[in-house]
């Protein structure tokens, strides 16, 4: 009898927890898209962030823009991930924003093209930032296919090259 009570309580708690998790996910800017399949990195082929969503740009095409000072790269990942490594000259702007956001948005507005990336299978961080940038009036905003993994994995500049000089906040 006590076992039955324990099982009933456990099922009730698990169900409540699952509902709580789904509610937090729905309310969070860090949430995942429940309808979008998430593949293992080894199965994803070309890397992460290749699904449908905002306008995409391949790492090769984005690297070609890197020497153009009217192009900016935006890193939508966590600050710790950004600190570990990022596209050369990229600025950090997560979907939740931060204290220097207004200044950054003003400077990004002066760029012809903005390339946003994250490191997620679903690209949802990058998509969220693209949505915000479009809301403030930026026109040509694209998501980097494959995100940071693809960029870094294909040897594109991560710490050198013209992007450093073209970074937002620099002349």
């Amino acid at each position: 009898m006590r076992i039955l009570v324990l099982v009933r309580q456990s099922l009730g708690i698990s169900a409540s927890g699952a509902v709580l998790g789904l509610a937090i996910n729905a309310a969070s800017v860090h949430g995942v898209d429940l309808r979008r399949p998430v593949f293992a990195a080894a199965e994803a082929g070309t890397g992460t962030c290749t699904g449908p969503g905002s306008t995409r740009i391949t790492p090769t095409a984005a690297a070609g823009l890197c020497s153009d000072c009217t192009v900016a790269f935006v890193d939508a990942r966590t600050s710790s991930a950004f600190a570990l490594g990022h596209v050369a000259g990229a600025v950090h702007l997560p979907p939740v924003g931060h204290a220097d956001e207004a200044q950054q948005l003003r400077e990004l507005s002066s760029k012809r093209t903005v390339v946003v990336y994250d490191d997620a299978s679903s690209c949802n961080l990058a998509d969220a930032v693209v949505h915000r940038l479009r809301q403030v009036g930026l026109g040509d905003v694209r998501v980097l296919e494959g995100g940071w993994t693809a960029w870094h994995g294909t040897g594109h500049p991560a710490a050198s090259g013209a992007c450093d000089l073209c970074a937002v906040g620099h002349p």
Binding site: I13, S14, G17, A18, N25, L34, A41, T48, T78, L125
Partner: protein, 156 residues
């Protein structure tokens, strides 16, 4: 020479500390996952035990369940049920990490969210220790605990 009453008190004190400690650990794990659900989804996908379409729903629900059992363990409500769920989750995590290591899959365990933590035999040992910890609370935890709200309910 301690009296049996003193022994019982210290036993209850020990289990209360163990319960709250396990709850805090699970709360930490849940918050880490919720702070970066996308990274947790990628970590979970890399285990390659779930169909791709199940990963996102599991990514959303697991931290919620962890947070719920953590809260219950910390306040001492439905302690045995919360510890049973905790033990069940730890068993699943241990098996998932063990099978990945057995197949030679190199992955981040995703245990606490945040910075990548490579899954290793140490991770399996840690989860097994936590599993015993949770089972001990579920099976042997004496009532009433020193601090907790289970007692009034169990007497009702």
């Amino acid at each position: 020479m301690k009296s049996s009453r003193e022994k019982a008190f210290f036993l209850r004190l020990g289990f209360t500390g163990a319960r709250i400690g396990l709850g805090l650990l699970f709360a930490w794990a849940a918050v880490g996952k919720l702070a970066d659900s996308v990274a947790f989804a990628d970590d979970m996908a890399n285990y390659r035990v779930l169909p791709a379409s199940w990963v996102a729903p599991m990514t959303a629900t697991i931290p919620g369940i962890e947070l719920t059992v953590a809260a219950l363990l910390i306040v001492g409500l439905y302690t045995r049920a919360a510890a049973t769920i905790t033990a069940g989750m730890l068993l699943v995590f241990t098996v998932a990490i063990g099978q990945a290591l057995g197949r030679g899959v190199n992955l981040s365990c995703g245990c606490f969210g945040g910075a990548p933590e490579p899954a290793s035999s140490w991770t399996v040992l840690r989860d097994v220790a936590l599993l015993f910890w949770a089972v001990a609370i579920a099976v042997f935890s004496p009532e009433p605990s020193v601090v907790g709200v289970d007692t009034p309910i169990s007497k009702a």
